[in-house]
Amino acid sequence: MRPIIKYAVLAAILFSGVIAGTAAAAPHHGFAVFDTSSQKNITGTVRDFQWTNPHTWVWLDVPNDKGGVDTYGFEGMSPNYLERRGWTRKTLKPGDKITVTYFPLKDGAHGGSFLIGKRPNGEELRMLITSPTEDH
């Protein structure tokens, strides 16, 4: 329930401005650890993409000012949800350069809730797509 529901609620908030439609799916598991009042962008290189339940995870290496990298962890939708909406376990590969739009963690740790990934060529990888593709 948790992963989909919170994103479903989010999707409703983001795209329609109402949450009534997803009342049946109201979150047991809220966004307690994420600051949903702000969105951030960060660019880096995909270190790993975990195609796992209950959440996918995007691990992104971001250059820091010490000449090294900080690895950020982004929690994403479940593979069950994403695979019905065009994603596969190979959509993101180690080495891919992307800019991630995310809700940051409240405690300031390196990570957050994955909203959109954007490739250098402009292609957008959205996790919040409410309608499934029929032919899955």
């Binding site: 989909i4 997803t22 009342a23 049946a24 047991h28 790993d48 339940n53 209950p54 995870w57 090294g68």
Partner: protein
Amino acid sequence: MRPASGGVELRNRHLRMVFFCAGLFFVSSALLLPLAAQQTFKKAVPTAADWAAVAKLPDFTGVWEIPLGGPAARVTNPAVGVPGRLFAPLSLTPEYEAKRKDLMAHADQDNQSANCLPPGMPGIMAQPYPMEFLLTPGQVTIIIEAYSETRHIYTDGRPLPDDPDPTFFGTSIGHWEGGTLVVKTVGFSTETEIEPHVPHSDKMQVLEKFRLLDPNTMSIETTVTDPEALTAPYVSSRILKRHRNWTIAEYICEQNNRNYVDRNGKAGINLTLPKDAPPEPK
């Protein structure tokens, strides 16, 4: 020395004892069997006619999902409420209203579902994940993708148990009224919720009516009653769409769950890099 006849005598004694015991067993069984028959439902062996009867039932088979992201996710059935109304009224007793407020006070922190505890009934039927219906003689089985859960609804005429163990899904029996599957479920763990942050007692009962509105649209009307928690039945309705080409996927919540609630009830997240992550780039 009469070893032969002594052996015969011994054998006879044994035989007599065997016959005596068999007789005792037979008499006691004859006395106990009717009693046992009253207490234990005996499931009939499915026949070809039983399988043929399944083919005549409304076609519930296949994978269904509550559409996400719009009012269709929850629609009050015109037959039971005001069309377009999204929330049925929930009327709690003072005791359970106080419990609800207490739960709401902690709603800003994740609850135990962050630790992969599944929602159970009735919330399990409101998941934005698909579920598959299987119809077999005397049983309807619902395979729910979220948390890889399964509900068993017995339609073979068995009675509800008098004193069921409290469980997340309860114990369900059903029967067909024309094209409608009517399901009654009792015996719930109080770890489940009527709606998020709305608690119930172990006396909660759930009545569900499943029917097809058109070949690929299913309506589930749910009535929750609870003499301790609710002052009036709580009725809600959901619409599901069938996806013929879908299959149910695996959902193992414990696989890579990085959310948690600690022992103080505070939500946290585990950002430890995966063990098999590629090494840091040079």
